[in-house]
Chain length 150, copies 2
């Protein structure tokens, strides 16, 4: 249901939120987020285009969030890469359903609304802070952190 790009964008955004004043490059973010660098570069471009992230060139450059992570919701990150589209009109363009969806599309839209509310209600700062002592993402200085997958 969440695309790979959404998952990767959220990881990158949380990594930036973990140290919001530090400019982080793809080479810094890739090990922490476990995202392939080429893919990550494309995701970062999308986040820059939608103005959630700023890219600073040069020797001390890198990516930073454009706003405090307390003010950026998960929904904004999702919408930056794969917008969550609510069902606002009949997908079959039926005249009889203009202005009032049928039960099926009403139900699907309600499910999307719940999803939207869940994502809008959480900020990058909350995610970066961790829950019950569980911090997100990798501390990539530790070699033993990844579970060995055969």
């Amino acid at each position: 249901m969440f695309s790979q790009t959404v998952e990767y964008a959220l990881r990158a955004a949380v990594a930036l939120a973990s140290d919001p004043t530090a400019a982080q490059r793809v080479v810094d973010l890739a090990p922490a987020t476990q995202v392939p660098p080429d893919y990550l570069a494309k995701v970062m471009n999308q986040l820059v285009r939608t103005q959630l992230v700023r890219a600073q060139r040069g020797r001390n450059g890198g990516y930073t969030l454009t706003r405090p992570p307390e003010n950026i919701s998960l929904l904004e990150v999702v919408n930056a890469v794969h917008p969550l589209r609510r069902i606002t009109h009949c997908p079959l363009n039926l005249r009889a359903h203009a202005g009032r969806l049928c039960g099926l599309h009403r139900k699907l839209d309600k499910a999307l609304q719940h999803m939207e509310e869940a994502l809008a209600g959480s900020t990058l700062a909350e995610m970066a802070a961790g829950v019950d002592g569980v911090k997100p993402l990798c501390d990539h200085t530790r070699q033993t952190e990844l579970i060995h997958v055969a």
Copy 2:
């Protein structure tokens, strides 16, 4: 968030639920669901493979639901074509997150759980019956039903 295939599968399943004893062919279902016939044939194959739908060959053949539409949830149709995968383990395979997800993945899974519950709580029969006098899908005998889209 819902793929085109999910949308089409739900329309086809609701069309079958609207007349559960009648075998309907792709040529019958395509106008009612407004799904391109080739795409619809592939979707029907997926519904047959996952045993939600039975295909009967021959002159009076066609597709029927394998169970009463009162007993088939929207979630089952979604899962037949694009399974809604909950997040049951850390997508980064982090040892520290085995058994307890970080806040980000806990939040995403919670959003998926809400979506799952919304879809599991509605049946094809309810969708086919319509809500507030609004019936789903096209009555394709009426030429004027579609809104003209320029």
